[in-house]
């Protein structure tokens, strides 16, 4: 006897995705109200954005935007996107709408802050790229580790160690020597992390915290006790920007990507190299297999431990290079805890970039934008206290990680020590 059950599919199911769509709708409509009420109502005049400097080869006229009308339009678009979420939201539209909405809201904010004044947009974009450097490099570090199954939250410590060593050795041996030493110290901490979590199977989070605390304590001690006495040890030369011919003259893009110092070029090269390595080479395939299914890799004769050691150490060297940016790439001097949590924002950039170097670059530019915006806006004398502006990169991190990232697919073996049978 066979009886097939009658299937009814009428009931609407309130899935978590629907809930997310509705929350996104509420957020968007809230933003619309805020933009209309605060950024549009009491604002007069035009916002002038400078896109080039007078000395540039190809000058581009300034972008002049009437503030109030522009912001009302933004508010209307936000309201439309929000309403759309309620009517037929969900699916891929949720993340996209939220992303567009947040970007528009940021534009509205800039227009409001600049209304009646002039503001160098190209200068801010150039600063965006500069500020993105430690974030891209940190994110690539985290990605190289996680792709082989090692969660690296010691990026912060590795950056700080690179910054400190760059300043110290750079002061004694000069910039190139400092840079090499910074890369070396990053690699050393990568090796230590690998030893702790691969060989000694220490909890990966705790190992990372230990490295962070150790580096913070040691560098702070030396900088307050030794550098305070012997200032010549903390006075390293800085790598200057150099323009790449022709490319550097392109308006807006030129100064952003092609008139920078070795750290910016280095991080762009690292994005290309890391992408090639992870996704187009034999070694990259093996590395990813170790992060996804170490036992499978082991049964095929791939040495899981060695793969993890090599990748985590190499990743540490990248972080060391990124750390040197703080000293050799900008001020030439080490300050206590000068990385200020950039290593953790880099982790967020890694997640936001979905474990892909190009994605990490995009994500780092978003965070770098928030960072440079707070710096430049302080000059515009907005009514917002500078302490609040200084929170911008961290707020951007929270919004992005909580709202826009959604579900990122992490390497399956991340965080777990591999025990060979």
């Amino acid at each position: 006897m066979v009886a097939v059950q009658n299937i009814s599919r009428q009931t609407k199911i309130g899935t978590p995705a629907d809930r997310r769509a509705r929350i996104a709708g509420i957020v968007l409509i809230g933003l619309a109200l805020f933009v209309a009420g605060v950024f549009s109502a009491a604002v007069t005049g035009d916002a002038t954005f400078r896109l080039s400097r007078p000395t540039d080869v190809w000058a581009v006229p300034n972008l002049v935007i009437p503030a109030a009308p522009f912001n009302y339009i933004v508010a209307a678009i936000l309201a439309f996107l929000g309403a759309r979420q309620f009517l037929r939201g969900g699916g891929k539209w949720t993340t996209l709408s939220l992303g567009i909405g947040l970007a528009l809201a940021v534009c509205a904010f800039l227009v409001w802050a600049t209304a009646g004044k002039a503001f160098s947009l190209s200068g801010m974009l150039q600063a965006t790229m500069v500020r993105a450097v430690p974030l891209v490099l940190g994110a690539i570090t985290g990605m190289m580790c996680e792709r082989v199954g090692v969660v690296n939250i010691a990026i912060e410590g590795m950056l700080l160690a690179g910054a400190f060593t760059g300043a110290l050795i750079g002061s004694v041996l000069g910039g190139v020597g400092g840079l090499i030493a910074a890369i070396g110290i990053g690699g050393l901490f990568g090796l230590i992390l690998a030893a702790l979590v691969v060989t000694y199977r220490m909890d990966q989070i705790i190992a990372g915290v230990v490295i962070n605390l150790f580096v913070l304590g040691l560098t702070s001690y030396v900088s307050s006790q030794v550098f305070a006495e012997h200032r010549f040890l903390n006075n390293a030369p800085v790598f200057r920007a150099f323009k790449i011919p022709v490319l550097g003259d392109i308006p807006v893009i030129g100064p952003m990507f092609f008139n920078q110092n070795i750290f910016v070029y280095g991080s762009l090269v690292m994005v290309v190299v890391a992408t090639y390595y992870l996704f187009y080479t034999r070694m990259g395939l093996r590395a990813r297999s170790v992060g996804e299914h170490p036992r499978a890799a082991d049964t095929l004769g791939i040495n899981v431990y060695r793969t993890r050691y090599i990748n985590v150490t190499a990743a540490g060297m990248i972080a060391g290079f990124g750390g040197a940016w703080f000293t050799l790439g900008s001020v030439g001097r080490f300050d206590e805890n000068m990385t200020g949590g950039r290593g953790f924002i880099a982790l967020a950039a890694m997640l936001f970039g979905r474990y892909h170097p190009v994605g990490a670059l995009m994500a780092a530019l978003v965070f770098g934008f928030a960072d440079s915006m707070q710096q430049k806006l302080a000059l515009l004398r907005t009514p917002i206290p500078s302490e609040f502006l200084a929170m911008a990169p961290y707020i951007a991190t929270i919004i992005v990680v909580a709202g826009v990232v959604g579900r990122t697919r992490t390497p399956a073996a991340g965080g777990k020590a591999y025990i060979k049978e």
């Binding site: 059950q5 899935t15 080479t281 093996r286 996804e292 499978a296 579900r407």
Partner: protein
């Protein structure tokens, strides 16, 4: 290629997993390796494929002794293993998995995926193992994943293929197809080792049989002359009963009524889709289906571990859809969960503590706010004796028990009180024949005493042996129902329904 194992001994601390085992593997032959869990089959094969180094003994390939210092060396020597738990990277494509470890490359270490695709297609054409080389493993059905495992071994030009419990994850129809592949490989001159604990399969596919028990070879045989009964004796060491004695089918009142139950997985996919079913007292309702078709989610919803998004569950006349697990338990629901290691027991707790886990608060074990440990121990000792749990003491850690005894511990805990409804998910997965016999007896006893029983299993034989009514789940829905109370159900018809084919109108 012929492989001989001579006097292989492997110890793990004081435990001897393999003791002086001799084994002959010959080209163009299927060697059936039979044994219960813990008999040492997997250890022996891990020695052969280079994962373990034997403490004593030799591996001889075509007359020459060899030693393997790792899996890579065994692969290079032409020995390939298809593991019971697939060794495939789920996010990689078929081609990437096939060539992992022996990748074709161009300059600058560039991965030559075009060459990889071509290799996969060539192997597929030669042995009848067609798979799309660009499909992602996680999107493929289990049967196809297994083909990829075999392709992976063949890409490494293996001459000896070790298949470890290859049919455990397949539907009956897929098993037939799989046997076809095994035969074509054998006819192509490959040597095949087929490891299983299923007697009918080993008799069907093998050319020779070797039986292991307790780490030793306990018998050799010719499948043409051996019977299942004789094989089982060699495997267990005593005569085994296969059929289950049941009292006549006499269903009573309606106990459990599930209406339009819909359950989501963590990723918002629908796991169970408007499922309705009934269980009466005094009957065993079996849910058949290939793993991953929503049975687990259904069971978790009924037992209160997972909140359904739609539908109602009525137990003993009360709506329990949103009632706590403890309340369900107090109403007389017993639950043998699917994964005893993860949800059935706490390995670091003692046998006695595990025994009290579900009712530590009732008057047997507690006085006010404190647990009376002596009472816990004495009750546990009673239940251990009642349910034949073999443990050195009630104070031994549960993780030290064998799988069968862990499962008996779970059964003892769940049934050692007044129950009305027993829900058993995969109650005998991975257990030896003796434990299966015992647990089946207990399940039937519960039914004969008037309990309702809902049993979920991906082992069709288990469902057929126990159930009074059989429901088949496919892609979250109940697609067929069979009445097994009067006459045996056509195994093939159930198998087809499990594979999602439209059920035929059977008698």
């Amino acid at each position: 290629m012929d492989v001989e194992l001579r006097g292989i001994t492997k110890r793990f601390g004081p435990i001897v997993a393999n003791a002086e085992i001799d084994l002959d593997i010959r080209a163009g032959e299927v060697l059936g390796l039979l044994g219960e869990n813990g008999a040492g089959k997997s250890t022996l094969m891990n020695v052969l494929c280079g994962l373990y180094t034997p403490d004593e003994g030799n591996i001889i390939i075509d007359g020459k002794p060899v030693t393997f210092d790792g899996p890579g060396a065994a692969i290079a020597a032409g020995i390939g293993m298809v593991h019971q738990h697939f060794m495939l990277v789920p996010v990689f494509t078929v081609a990437e998995n096939a060539i992992l470890g022996i990748e074709p490359t161009k300059q600058v270490d560039y991965l030559d995926l075009a060459a990889a695709r071509q290799q996969v297609n060539e192997i597929g054409d030669r042995y009848g193992l067609q798979v799309d080389p660009d499909a992602r493993i996680e999107d493929l059905p289990v049967g196809t994943q297994q083909r990829v495992e075999i392709i992976k071994v063949l890409v490494r030009s293996a001459d000896v293929l070790i298949l470890d419990e290859p049919t455990a994850v397949l539907t009956p129809q897929e098993v037939e197809e799989f046997f076809g592949i095994v035969r074509s490989l054998r006819d192509a001159g490959k040597a095949i080792v087929f490891i299983t604990h299923k007697l009918d399969e080993i008799l069907e596919i093998s050319d020779r049989i070797t039986v292991l028990r307790g780490g030793r070879v306990t018998g050799y045989g010719d499948p043409k002359t051996l019977t299942e009964q004789r094989l089982a004796e060699m495997m267990v060491g005593r005569p085994v009963r296969f059929d289950v004695d049941k009292a006549p089918y006499n269903p009573g009142d309606l106990l459990l009524e599930v209406r339009d139950l819909t359950v989501l997985r963590a990723n918002d996919e629908i796991a169970a889709d408007h499922v309705s079913l009934e269980v009466r007292s005094g009957e065993i309702v079996g849910i058949a289906g290939v793993q991953g078709n929503g049975q687990s989610a259904l069971i978790e919803a009924i037992t209160g571990l997972h909140r359904p998004v739609d539908g109602t569950i009525i137990f003993d006349g009360q709506d329990i859809t949103n009632v706590s697990v403890r309340a369900r338990h107090a109403m007389g629901m017993a639950h043998i969960p699917e994964d005893r290691q993860r949800t059935g027991i706490i390995g670091d707790f003692t046998v006695a503590e595990n025994m009290a886990l579900n009712s530590y608060y009732d008057e047997r074990y507690a006085k006010g706010m404190s647990i009376v440990w002596p009472a816990v121990a004495t009750h546990a000792a009673d239940y251990v004796a009642d349910f034949d749990v073999r443990t050195p003491s009630v104070h031994a850690k549960a993780s030290q028990l064998s799988g069968g005894n862990q499962q008996k511990l779970v059964v003892a805990r769940e049934l050692s009180r007044d129950t009305k409804l027993l829900i058993a998910a995969q109650p005998t997965r991975g257990l030896d024949v003796g434990s299966v016999e015992y647990i089946h007896g207990r399940v039937v006893a519960a039914r004969d005493e008037g309990d309702g029983v809902l049993i979920m299993s991906s082992e069709l034989d288990e469902i057929l042996a126990l159930s009074d009514r059989i429901l088949v789940m496919f892609k979250g829905r109940i697609v067929a129902e069979f009445d097994a109370s009067k006459q045996p159900v056509d195994r093939n018809a159930v198998g087809l329904a499990m594979a999602g084919s439209a059920p035929r109108a059977a008698a």
